[in-house]
């Protein structure tokens, strides 16, 4: 594999420009994090100035209205009615379809909104409510969630990640924090489009950090919380499962260890689901809301396997939903399997991070009912690995941004999209940092240049040209296939990387010896 020849560049070589960022990187962890976090908050606030999804588009509006509606439902109805169709809770109008933790979060935010702007969450009468102060308060709830969950989780993760590492790795810490906190896709979706991904992703980050610091029980609990905020967090489940299982098997009493973990998982779930555990019906009622199989195997133009191949194979016509469900399950599991087997075989921390990326990517590409926004899930572990795989991360961000472009264009977010895209490129290429981020082998560089050129052309075409009437979604299809092909390349490469860990560790050893 050509990309594999790339040297592992763990520390930025800053010989020609002696440490111009040292005034930030030489600060203590917390001071350094504070500075970057302030910048990240500022960028989030600026993105939040722009319109949200479905602004001024009655009668359905968009995700903003969905979140606002959930606040309205949760603060006005008792928990048992949250997921139940009734005269005041028409499930067809943005019915709650996320697990209970999202509902609790909506409840708390709803109380906040009711305190400052009561009409914005009044039962029924507030449908389609839009106002200056309403928008502001909603934006601030996202920022608050980000600050309270995602930011501390990232600090925790980075502290754990660099705790055992030699000093030469530590100089890239600030850049690492920057890359995780200023992920343009996450900021655009949460603070532009409007969602609360920062909560589930933050909980996942904290779970990963806890597990990396050997607090497996805490990690499992945090991951269960993430799962209960967004069911999409299940994309990471195989990696968590395989890593913890592999670790338990290496302990003295594996069965007891597994049982302990199981108890924590069941306990956390029971706690969160307790309003719906009094009857089987109530439980199934909620569960059916969380698995919208009737919506088909894919939606819109998501750059995954099913949607891309549907150009040639009409999956929806050839198979029933039932068999498609099975087919996608088999495809997802079989693509996750190599990564899982490796992890059970040798549960290393590095392998765990790679596996998080592999499994979530497999889910994105092969599972049932995937949304464009789900690309955020594989992006998170990719940002954890940014110091080890800067080239792949950068490539991934480029294609992920492109894959979300049609969605963000619909939301009137082209200007912040362009600004965030530019900002990412600039931060990635900050002067004095990551001089050696270039790849020694030329094939991936040429490939990436080609992909970037295509991406640039399709961006311009998408904005300026109206598609032919016969194929109204021609450009979406082109974007989708372009992204899909790049995603597949990245998935294969990361899988290979996970299977070849010994080479890296030996390289690290020789590096140590040299020092």
């Amino acid at each position: 594999m050509a990309i594999g020849k790339k040297k592992s560049n763990n520390s930025p070589q800053t010989i020609s420009e002696p440490e111009i960022w040292s005034f930030i990187t030489s600060q203590t962890s917390k001071s350094c994090f504070l500075f970057i976090a302030l910048f990240a908050v500022f960028i989030r606030l600026a993105v939040a100035l722009h319109p949200y999804s479905g602004a001024n588009t009655p009668p359905i509006f968009g995700d903003y209205e969905a979140q606002r509606h959930w606040m309205e439902i949760t603060i006005n109805l008792p928990p048992k009615d949250w997921y139940r169709n009734s005269t005041v809770n028409d499930l067809k109008y943005w019915g709650l379809d996320y697990p209970p933790l999202t509902a609790y979060q909506s409840y708390f935010h709803g109380i906040l909104l009711r305190f400052f702007d009561p009409p914005s969450v009044a039962l029924s009468s507030s449908h389609g409510y839009e106002s200056y102060i309403g928008k502001l308060l909603m934006r601030w709830t996202v920022l608050m969630s980000d600050l309270m969950i995602f930011f501390p989780a990232v600090l925790y993760f980075v502290t754990v990640y660099y705790s055992g590492n030699p000093d030469d790795k530590k100089s890239s810490k600030a850049w690492h924090i920057l890359m995780i906190l200023l992920n343009p896709c996450l900021i655009l979706i949460d603070h532009g489009h409007f969602q609360y991904n920062c909560i589930s992703l933050g909980l996942t980050t904290a779970a990963v950090a806890a597990i990396l610091s050997n607090r497996d029980l805490v990690g499992s609990m945090l991951f269960c919380l993430a799962l209960n905020h967004k069911q999409m967090s299940a994309y990471y489940a195989p990696a968590f499962f395989a890593y913890l299982l592999g670790k338990c098997l290496r302990r003295q009493r594996p069965i007891v260890e597994v049982l302990k973990l199981g108890l924590v998982v069941v306990g956390t779930f029971a706690l969160i689901w307790c309003p719906y555990l009094n009857s089987v019906d109530a439980f199934l009622e909620v569960l059916s809301r969380l698995a919208p199989f009737e919506r088909g195997i894919y939606e819109d133009y998501v750059a995954n396997f099913w949607c891309t191949t549907s150009v040639a194979v009409k999956w929806k016509r050839l198979f029933t939903t039932q068999s498609l469900k099975l087919l996608s399950l088999v495809a997802t599991v079989s693509t996750c399997l190599p990564s899982m087997i490796q992890l059970v075989w040798s549960p290393t921390k590095r392998g765990f991070l790679h596996s998080l990326l592999n499994c979530s990517f497999s889910f994105y590409l092969f599972s049932f009912q995937v949304h464009e926004k789900s690309i955020l899930l594989p992006l998170l572990p990719a940002s954890f690995l940014v110091v080890e795989e800067p080239f792949v991360f950068q490539w991934f961000i480029h294609s992920a941004l492109l894959s979300m472009f049609p969605l963000l264009k619909r939301d009137n977010l082209v200007v912040p999209y362009a600004a965030m895209y530019g900002l990412f490129v600039l931060l990635y290429h900050a002067p004095g940092v990551r001089k050696d981020a270039g790849v020694s082998s030329s094939i991936p560089v040429i490939l990436k240049l080609f992909a970037s050129a295509c991406s640039l052309v399709i961006h311009i075409v998408y904005i300026t040209v109206t598609p032919p009437e016969k194929y109204p979604f021609l450009f979406e299809a082109v974007i989708m296939s372009l992204c899909f092909s790049q995603f597949v390349l990245i998935l294969i490469y990361i899988n290979l990387k996970q299977w070849a860990p010994s080479k890296i560790s030996s390289e690290a050893d020789t590096k140590k010896k040299r020092l």
């Binding site: 020609s16 420009e17 002696p18 440490e19 111009i20 040292s22 005034f23 930030i24 030489s26 600060q27 001071s31 504070l34 500075f35 302030l38 910048f39 908050v41 500022f42 960028i43 606030l45 600026a46 993105v47 100035l49 722009h50 319109p51 200056y132 102060i133 502001l136 601030w140 920022l143 200007v415 912040p416 362009a418 600004a419 965030m420 530019g422 900002l423 600039l426 931060l427 290429h429 900050a430 002067p431 004095g432």
Partner: protein
């Protein structure tokens, strides 16, 4: 970006990052200045030159000097292509579609290129280390004041200050003729910059026009003709059409009051407060004091004085006070005109103009905060002073953005700026003298006191600043409700005026004590 030899990346990189941030700020609140500049686009586009300064279609009549009008005319060529309504004199009134917002915001971002180029030029010419270049360009380009005033409130200060810095950069290189020429151009863009004209005059007279009577006189004639040529280019066409009277009347509206609607934090705030206090005291003591009929912000109507006890202030008095305040600097410039002092002297002149001028706007503090950034790294005292001054100046601009949406943005912006300066200055002036690079200029003093610390004075002032803000934003509305609405603003004015006065005294002593 070619980095190693000139480190130009450390100037262009912050500039591009700033551009991305400015794009993100496009939908932010903009003041009536936005409509002012829009109207000037329409005015210069639709009317012949002879009517530019006599038209009264909108209340926002053209009151900048001719070069700025030509600049608007130049922009209007593109504006008319983007959207003809922008440049329509009547249909365009209060036009605020997305096209006009995008166009005008982009015009500010692009015109900032002048500022970036001058920052590049200034730091290039003095063999700065990479860290120093990065810091200075960051202080200039990422100035929170400029972001607030230009990219949210809406004005073209970055462009104008860029011209000023360009002039300073030529003067520092000893190229007086072109430096003076550029300053003359600047005066024809915005006449408020004329406060530094005495400094320029004395300096150029003594530095440029020296070397014997004949050579000196020759140079005087050369410089004089350059300046006259600039002014002729600016005002000539208006003189030709017999419009000079109208131009001057528009440019010098002495009908305005001593203070702007929001009192700029300058010396007259204390004068007004003293008058109020004396008036109160005398009334208590039994003297009959006539309550003033005029307001400070309104114009001079007849003989009525806005002061109850103290003598009234006329434009002439402020003019003389400003001249008196500048005079120590003029004497220094006369005795020993040195290129390395020019940015200090120019900044000092603008400080005097700000403190003692007639109808000063709070935005005018940028005129000395930005040039002072150039000298902020010369000594630890400079760094301490700049840290203090730029925070005061930025805080005094807070009332410009009074809507809730921008509140967290301005606060985070100031925090970010403060932390950047704190880390940057601490790295440039570290605790231990052994760490210092021998190449640093003025690094001969190796005592421990050379480390950058905020100090008890700065700390207590900053705590007071936080207290003023907390009072104005949170406690005042709770305690007084809607009563005394002017009190929070007045407190900001007085508190910042204290800081400005300190800065003035500090600069004055520096200038007097330096040989």
């Amino acid at each position: 970006m070619t980095k190693p030899p000139t480190n130009s990346g450390v100037v262009w990189w912050p500039a591009l990052v700033a551009a991305a941030v400015k794009l993100l700020l496009i939908p932010a609140y903009h003041s009536t200045d936005f409509e002012v500049h829009r109207h000037w686009l329409a005015l210069t586009h639709s009317l012949p030159l002879s009517r530019w300064y006599s038209d009264t279609t909108s209340q926002w009549t053209l009151d900048y000097p001719p070069f700025f009008a030509y600049f608007e005319k130049f922009l209007s060529i593109f504006a008319a292509r983007v959207d003809p309504t922008i440049t329509d004199l009547h249909r365009g009134l209060n036009y605020a579609s997305s096209s006009v917002i995008l166009f005008q915001r982009f015009s500010v971002v692009l015109s900032d290129l002048v500022l970036v180029y001058s920052a590049h030029r200034l730091t290039r010419s003095r063999n700065f280390r990479a860290l120093e270049r990065l810091l200075i360009s960051a202080l200039v380009i990422w100035s929170p004041g400029l972001l607030i005033v230009d990219h949210m409130h809406f004005q073209y200060n970055g462009f104008l200050l860029g011209i000023l810095l360009l002039s300073i950069s030529f003067m520092e290189e000893g190229r007086d003729l072109i430096g003076g020429f550029i300053f003359a151009v600047l005066l024809c863009f915005k006449h408020l910059f004329a406060v530094a004209a005495p400094v320029y005059f004395v300096y150029l007279f003594r530095h440029y026009c020296r070397g014997g009577l004949v050579k000196g006189f020759g140079r005087l004639v050369l410089m004089g003709s350059a300046v006259v040529a600039v002014f002729a280019a600016a005002y000539g066409p208006f003189w030709y059409y017999g419009q000079i009277q109208e131009v001057l009347q528009r440019m010098f509206p002495f009908g305005r009051g001593l203070c702007h609607a929001y009192w700029a934090p300058n010396f007259w705030v204390f004068y007004i407060m003293l008058d109020k206090a004396l008036g109160f005291l005398f009334t208590r003591l039994g003297f009959s004091i006539k309550a003033p009929t005029a307001s400070f912000t309104g114009g001079l109507v007849g003989d009525s004085s806005p002061f109850s006890v103290l003598p009234t202030i006329t434009p002439l008095i402020t003019f003389i006070t400003v001249l008196l305040a500048i005079s120590p600097c003029l004497i220094k410039a006369w005795r020993n005109p040195q290129p390395r002092m020019i940015s200090r002297w120019v900044s000092y002149a603008y400080t005097c103009g700000f403190l003692f001028g007639w109808h000063v706007h709070e935005k005018a503090s940028l005129h000395f905060v930005i040039p002072l950034a150039l000298t902020s790294l010369k000594s630890v005292e400079d760094a301490k002073h700049y840290f203090f001054l730029s925070i005061v100046s930025c805080y005094s601009l807070f009332p410009l953005l009074f809507e809730a949406q921008e509140y967290p943005i301005k606060v985070v912006l100031l925090l970010l700026h403060g932390v950047l300066m704190l880390y940057g200055f601490s790295a440039r002036f570290p605790e231990t003298s052994a760490m210092r690079d021998p190449a640093v200029k003025g690094g001969d003093n190796k005592s421990e006191t050379n480390a950058f610390r905020i100090g008890w004075f700065g700390k207590s002032y900053l705590i007071g600043l936080v207290a003023v803000e907390v009072w104005g934003q949170f406690l005042h509305p709770i305690i007084f409700g809607d009563a005394l609405p002017f009190l929070p603003l007045m407190m900001i004015s007085i508190y910042c005026a204290l800081g400005m006065l300190y800065s003035w005294i500090w600069q004055l002593t520096q200038i007097v004590l330096t040989n």
